[in-house]
Symmetry: C2
Subunit: 126 residues, 2 copies
DNA sequence: CCCAAATCAGTAATGATTACTATTTTATTA
DNA sequence: TAATAAAATAGTAATCATTACTGATTTGGG
């Protein structure tokens, strides 16, 4: 394990203990329960550092806010445009990482998002 | 063909005649060459409408700006974190659309981005 | 031609993110 | 351990892409 600051550890723990894809603001509120005077800037700085180091994934679904994912294994995101929920679908292998390599590209992080309508919202629309 | 306004047609044409993935600001500058007094708000409004109708794709790579893609066929994006260039890799079929359907999710638009380092930048780093 | 709905240009407001600075914490070296 | 350098932080101010708003203009159906 690397030697992370108390703040960075707390941020990482918050992300590891949820299966949602929270924003910086949400993470900030959670971490404040442990470190009440943590700065929002610190949260942003550490989220950036953590995604650069590959500990977490940074996901942008086009809603104006960055989302973060504590799960750095390869998976697909299904984002419902109706309820805005993001579901994860585990992938046994990453089909596009290979394709990237074949094109001389060194892959580091993959973000796969399918936008559409989830089962629940389809039913509610009837 | 649908009956689009002159502004929307011009915006769509700009996007159809480039293989880059421009931002709203870039598109605005291009369209202004034809319609000098077009409003930036009009560009944003039409880009939103065009991506909702499926004419174009809206891509967010986490650089703080939305990118737009005139190619709405299924393809993979390789984004170099070094030179920020986005390359397209055509996909004969969309492997994740099927996966989405199997999970009761109705797919409408897919955005696949692999972040990493491109061939050119790897060589320049030596 | 007339009217209602849609779209527009121009501008102001929003809000997520970043930049900045003085202070505190951590690591290093002797 | 003490001194010092380097890194990280809290708090706040600034940025800037995007959205909201408003009054004018365009469009399309009857």
């Amino acid at each position: 394990m690397k030697n992370y600051s108390r703040q960075r550890e707390a941020i990482l723990n918050v992300l590891r203990s949820t299966d949602t894809h929270p924003t910086a603001g949400w993470i900030y509120e959670r971490v404040r329960e442990q470190i009440p005077n943590i700065s929002l800037g610190t949260v942003y700085r550490n989220l950036t550092a953590l995604s650069q180091s590959g500990d977490i994934l940074s996901i942008n679904v086009g809603d104006g806010q960055e989302h973060y994912d504590g799960d750095n294994s390869s998976h697909l995101h299904l984002r419902c445009k109706c309820c805005t929920k993001i579901s994860d679908i585990a992938l046994s292998l990453d089909p596009f990482a290979r394709l990237a390599l074949e094109n001389g590209f060194k892959p580091e992080a993959s973000v796969y998002v399918v936008h559409g309508i989830c089962e629940k919202c389809i039913q509610n629309k009837i």
